[in-house]
């Protein structure tokens, strides 16, 4: 056994914690190596010196001083330890990190959905002159059919562009910033929201009866398809919506597409739905003037 290794193991040799074979090897080495033996003896002497240091007594008035410290324990500290003992509970860092990540994901997820943002223009007026409000599932259509409130969870709004037939487009759309955006997953607005300047149910029904303009025809197609109008989006200064967002039961998705072909021309082919999909379908339709 080499001297370096022996010196490294001397501490354990003194404590007698080495296995028998290693202990015997060291014992043999110490008999032959004067340098290592000297180091062993001096270390052992030092350890014995430490063990013979004895113990000290605490001052006689130690208990009284502890009492003084306890009694001088400030009231704030007492309240803290009495009522806020939960702060002393040790929570694993992994759990804290998981909770923090979940909160962060929740915040980010809710902030990055622009379709959930609402920019409201009071008294948004549609082409029929009626203010339109977002519809809810419990609202009845002009045909009295109750629509279910279903939130599209698996498929995002399908973007479509509809080039309106020229003679059916009463007014050209103007350009500018979008002033109303209400759409997207679960975008629901109350029926009676006066601060949004939306119409009454009666107004809505008037809209859906149609008066020959493309928007009324589309609304009627939505109604026939058991769907609902969720929102309209306007550009600044325009009286006609540039976008509408609607929701259609998936079973009526293709019939609805067929119906709006009579109102305008789809600029892009509408995608098919997954076969297994059973929920409602949201469509965000851009209404393009043919002029």
């Amino acid at each position: 056994m080499k001297c370096n290794l022996v010196k490294k193991l001397l501490s354990e040799y003194i404590d007698n914690t080495l296995d028998e074979r290693t202990g015997t090897l060291i014992e043999g080495h110490l008999k032959e190596c004067e340098d290592c033996n000297y180091e062993y003896i001096s270390m052992k002497t030092m350890v014995e010196e430490l063990r013979s240091m004895g113990s000290l007594e605490a001052p006689k008035d130690f208990l009284e001083k502890v009492h003084e410290r306890i009694d001088s324990f400030s009231p704030i500290e007492r309240i803290r330890t009495s009522f806020f003992f939960l702060s002393s509970i040790k929570v694993p860092m992994e759990l804290i990190a998981l909770a923090a990540t979940s909160v962060l994901i929740f915040i980010v997820f809710n902030m990055v959905q622009p379709e959930n943002q609402v920019m409201v223009k009071p008294s948004a007026i549609d082409s029929t002159g009626s203010a339109i409000k977002p519809e809810t599932g419990s609202k009845k259509t002009s045909k009295g059919t109750a629509l279910k409130t279903q939130v599209l969870k698996e498929i995002g709004p399908i973007q479509l562009a509809l080039l309106l037939v020229a003679e059916q487009k009463p007014k050209p759309l103007s350009s500018g910033n979008v002033r109303l955006i209400v759409s997207g997953k679960g975008a629901e607005m109350p029926l009676d929201t006066p601060e949004f300047g939306f119409s009454t149910e009666q107004d809505q029904e008037t809209d859906q009866e149609g008066n020959g303009d493309p928007l009324s025809d589309i609304i009627e197609s939505i109604s026939i398809s058991d769907g609902r109008l969720i929102s309209k989006e306007y550009k600044n200064g325009a009286d006609e919506p540039e976008y509408i967002t609607i929701e259609i039961p998936c079973i009526n998705y293709h019939p609805f597409l067929e119906r709006i072909k009579d109102i305008g021309t789809l600029q892009t082919p509408a995608p098919d739905l997954p076969e297994e999909y059973q929920g409602p379908v949201q469509l965000r339709i851009q209404l393009i003037s043919s002029k």
Partner: protein, 198 residues
């Protein structure tokens, strides 16, 4: 057996239970039982009587605050030692304490110990031999003081307090291998520093 008698004769476990059920005298009994060992341990860490006393008081103050939530996951003795070691190590690491020690050494570099410990059972012995022994103890204590905190704890617990490896592991949380290597390094350091007097 009434409660007072039980507190005097009962073990730590019973005293802790008694304190947790509202008997403050049980805490006093625990202090009286352990104050010398806690004070001694603090002194070996701090190397200063006043600091050791403050530290030991801190330890029992912490015990008083936390004892109601003690769940007997370890023995009271191990828990008390763990608090003591951590309190001492934290104080040694604090910049305030380092400043005090430095200024004390600058003021009196030859004798930075303002307290010569009186050992139990010293009475009636040869005064010269006792003086020599005290001087050796002072030099050994100086050597211990000069060790890094991470080596000081193992050498104090093992060689001065005489605890087993297992007890030290329970108190410090070190692994066995870490404990052995720290102890080996600490002993080599001390041997080198005390080579002239041993």
């Amino acid at each position: 057996m009434n409660e007072e008698t039980a507190n005097k004769t009962g073990d730590d476990h019973e005293l802790v239970k008694s304190f947790q059920s509202g008997n403050r005298i049980a805490f006093d009994e625990l202090v009286l039982r352990h104050k010398d060992r806690v004070f001694n341990l603090c002194y070996r860490f701090m190397g200063d009587h006043q600091e050791a006393e403050d530290c030991a008081q801190d330890v029992f103050l912490k015990v008083y605050r936390s004892l109601k939530r003690f769940r007997f996951e370890s023995s009271f003795y191990t828990w008390l030692y763990r608090i003591t070691v951590n309190t001492c190590k934290n104080r040694l690491k604090s910049s305030g304490y380092r400043g005090i020690k430095k200024s004390s050494l600058l003021a009196n570099p030859e004798n930075d110990k303002d307290y010569q410990p009186m050992e139990r059972g010293d009475e009636g012995k040869n005064p010269i031999a006792e003086l020599e022994k005290m001087e050796r103890i002072r030099l050994v204590q100086n050597a211990i003081d000069s060790l890094p905190v991470g080596q000081k704890d193992v050498v104090i617990l093992r060689d001065i307090e005489g605890l087993s490896y297992e007890e030290i592991i329970n108190i410090t949380g070190y692994r066995l291998g870490t404990l052995k290597s720290k102890l080996s390094r600490a002993r080599h350091e001390l041997r080198e520093r005390l080579g002239r007097i041993i």
